[in-house]
Symmetry: C2
Subunit: 459 residues, 2 copies
């Protein structure tokens, strides 16, 4: 029986008209994606199970889509595939502050989740810049990081359990309400960062905290990237624990200044946005004196209003950069690498040299507190030459990260974009077997390779 008929007979909500499906083709990456056969909007895991077992029988590819904010192509749709959108799985199912969990469906947006939690006096710490649109399922599938990662870690540290539909339609539940368990292999973590290639996450138990620690936000301006890097390392090396540490180069700094209204001292090449916990005032004093040791041009202590404006500006930076595009067909390809804090000064220097050498308009910002550097490359998607240049740049960016004991992907995943770099990272560590193991795991969970094929690696 034809799939469309099947959906109709089963009374499963779907779209199949070209115009209706267009919004489900691309994600936030530069990969075009292709028109699927249909976009299915299941109302629960049982419908997902019916669709998957049918697709598995008929060998139809399936792409799962949350907020579609992937920057590496993880959620870009595939020719002739079925796209499963989690749009309707948007309920918060259960919450217990005292038990420290919230149980949410995969399609719940991170900002909606935290809006709900804040009203109860709790917070889900992961805070990707895309939190307005990105979802519980999507951020788990890419092990998303964000602006609070340096203190609270990545998504993987906040998932207690998952509800997952496997390729053959089987429904499994991993973990659950309790904060710890030791019951054999960690089936929850296997799905974190798997980018929808091992199963479809339909709900999750997430760990929460009563509140974000109190902090003072300050800005420090530097004329040398190394100095900024040294400041962050010195803070951490001398026992301070920033709640957040974001950086921005000149292009991004100017945007933040424009949005927040905060002026930039002349000669500033690099901006550090630093959140220091103020449970102990002397900690804050200590932080200030450490920053002043690495000759900043200026340090600004922000009041509440400025503080919020700067945060908003930093969070909206990628969108704001998109408004800086001047050419027809221009797009921003966002690089995402991570290095140890001690390697940040040298890495930033080398990356700026790369930028000069490639002569591509590029802006740097990122979560410098955990060594995460984003390189935003302005590229004309219609120019074969520019695209090749950009891809070469991304590869060399990855080389810099590897040379400094880092990783080619910090928080955006692999998708289509970094399949070669993934292999390169394993080769660099002299551990090529890692990729074989991943492929063997894939074959267990998805023997017919119907789930998001061609993403992360090729079988």
């Amino acid at each position: 029986m034809d799939l469309i008929e099947f959906f109709e007979r089963k009374n499963i909500n779907f779209l199949s008209k070209r115009e209706e499906m267009i919004p489900y083709v691309k994600d936030a990456s530069y990969f075009p994606g292709s028109l699927p056969r249909a976009v299915v909007l299941p109302k629960d895991e049982n419908e997902i199970s019916e669709v998957l077992s049918k697709c598995n029988e008929e060998n139809v590819k399936v792409v799962t889509r949350g907020g579609g904010t992937s920057l590496t192509g993880s959620s870009a749709s595939i020719q002739d595939s079925i796209v499963i959108s989690t749009l309707r799985l948007n309920k918060i199912l259960d919450f217990s502050g005292g038990d420290r969990y919230v149980h949410a469906q995969a399609g719940v947006r991170i900002d909606d989740l935290n809006g709900f939690l804040q009203s109860k006096g709790f917070v889900y710490p992961p805070d990707p810049a895309s939190s307005l649109a990105s979802t519980v399922g999507g951020t788990i599938s890419t092990n998303a990081g964000g602006l609070r990662g340096t203190y609270y870690g990545s998504t993987k540290e906040w998932v207690l359990g998952l509800g997952v539909v496997l390729a053959d339609g089987k429904i499994i539940k991993t973990g659950g309400k309790v904060l710890k368990r030791s019951i054999g292999y960690d089936l929850t973590s296997i799905f974190i960062g798997a980018e929808g290639t091992l199963g479809i996450i339909y709900d999750a138990y997430l760990k929460i905290v009563p509140k974000i620690e109190r902090f003072q936000r300050l800005l420090a301006f530097f004329n040398k990237p190394e100095d900024l890097g040294k400041a962050v390392f010195q803070l951490k090396d001398r026992g301070l624990n920033p709640l957040g540490a974001e950086f921005a180069d000149k292009i991004s700094m100017n945007i933040i200044s424009r949005i927040s209204g905060i002026s930039i001292p002349s000669g500033s090449e690099m901006l550090l946005i630093l959140d220091i916990p103020i449970q102990e005032v002397n900690e804050y004093e200590k932080a200030l004196s450490i920053i002043k040791e690495v000759n900043p041009i200026d340090v600004k202590i922000l009041n509440q209003t400025e503080s919020e404006l700067v945060y908003k500006a930093r969070k909206g930076l990628y969108s704001a950069l998109l408004n800086e595009r001047e050419r027809e067909g221009e797009f921003i390809i966002i690089g995402d690498v991570v290095v140890p804090s001690s390697e940040v000064p040298e890495s930033l220097k080398e990356i700026q040299e790369l930028i000069k050498r490639f002569g591509l308009k590029t802006s740097l910002f990122g979560h410098i507190g955990d060594g995460n550097i984003h390189a935003n490359i302005f590229t004309n998607l219609n120019s074969k030459e520019e695209m090749e240049k950009a891809e070469k740049f991304l590869e060399e960016l990855g080389d810099v990260a590897l040379a400094h004991h880092g990783s080619v992907s910090a928080e955006h995943g692999i998708g289509y974009e970094k399949k070669n770099l993934l292999m390169k990272e394993f080769m660099y560590k002299n551990s090529p077997t890692n990729l074989d193991l991943m492929k063997s795991i894939k074959r267990i969970f998805d023997p017919n390779n119907i789930l998001n094929p061609g993403k992360v690696f090729d079988l």
Copy 2:
């Protein structure tokens, strides 16, 4: 070629005399273990690799042993097996406070690791009561918890990367120095809690923190277990974040009193040891008033000396209980379950009813802050009847945990002891496929089933 010859020819350090091997047969559980063929003490991963590829060829079982502190039989040796002891892999290889990692070999003891880190002003948060003897590799292999788990989480949240030798002798490296990465399937987490059945961990990158938050330790005495449970839940539900919350019943309380010299008010049935962060004094005041709402018999604020004595007493509780044994052949089987905080009051009540019904001398203590309850059952190992009773008790203890949305194993793993309970947990969640997935994963990593066979599950 015979294995012993092989070790000699390769010049690999080993023991094969009965007397020499005895200390490597049993672990801290009640499972006797059997004499292995030899105990190998490799000096590095290359020797482990040589031994494993040889054992894999010849289908010889391999049991890896760290501190031998397992309470479920995970490290009990197997008839005719080769025991690989990590005793000589005891070096701290690298450390960077500013980068927030320490790189240690698998055989490093947790207390030695933290001794080193404290001298640098840093801490590795996981703090199992067995930290004097337990090792980096062993605590990773059981996802160990401990006394700081309620605030800092379990071991799985502190492992950045691993060096592992696979069953066929291949050496792989997962993760590494950086604090985040999103590069496909999480090969680090697969080995956490795997109890040496998927590979042999030879070193690990561990995440560290600059310091443990400042806190005030206090004791609260209750005559009803429900009240103690309510106190902890109320604290957490109203936004407090205890750094530690330990409980002890009458038997254990008396031991703590004896060791610490702190007197117990009459009528006390349950003791709560609570560590409240004092970054914000009002938090501490708030905690006190919440506890006083649930009618404690008394609340004691401890000074520094008392504070340390109580901690020492709590950490030594299991060993101290062992000294309470009065009968020949008597042993303590320690149950380990976890439930959500809101279910603790009811669970404690039901568990105390179990104890009455079974009429076995049993003492309760545990990490109540994360809902982890240990039931210590005094059992005569030589009495078939008592052993059957104890096993039945453990099973019903697991039932209580499951009925209250908890887990049959919080931090001690599965080993030999809980294979049935593991299946029961998956059935209870209506997710039996979990076990099939674990078995398929096992077959990828260890196709000949030589690594710690018969632990966690039977293939």
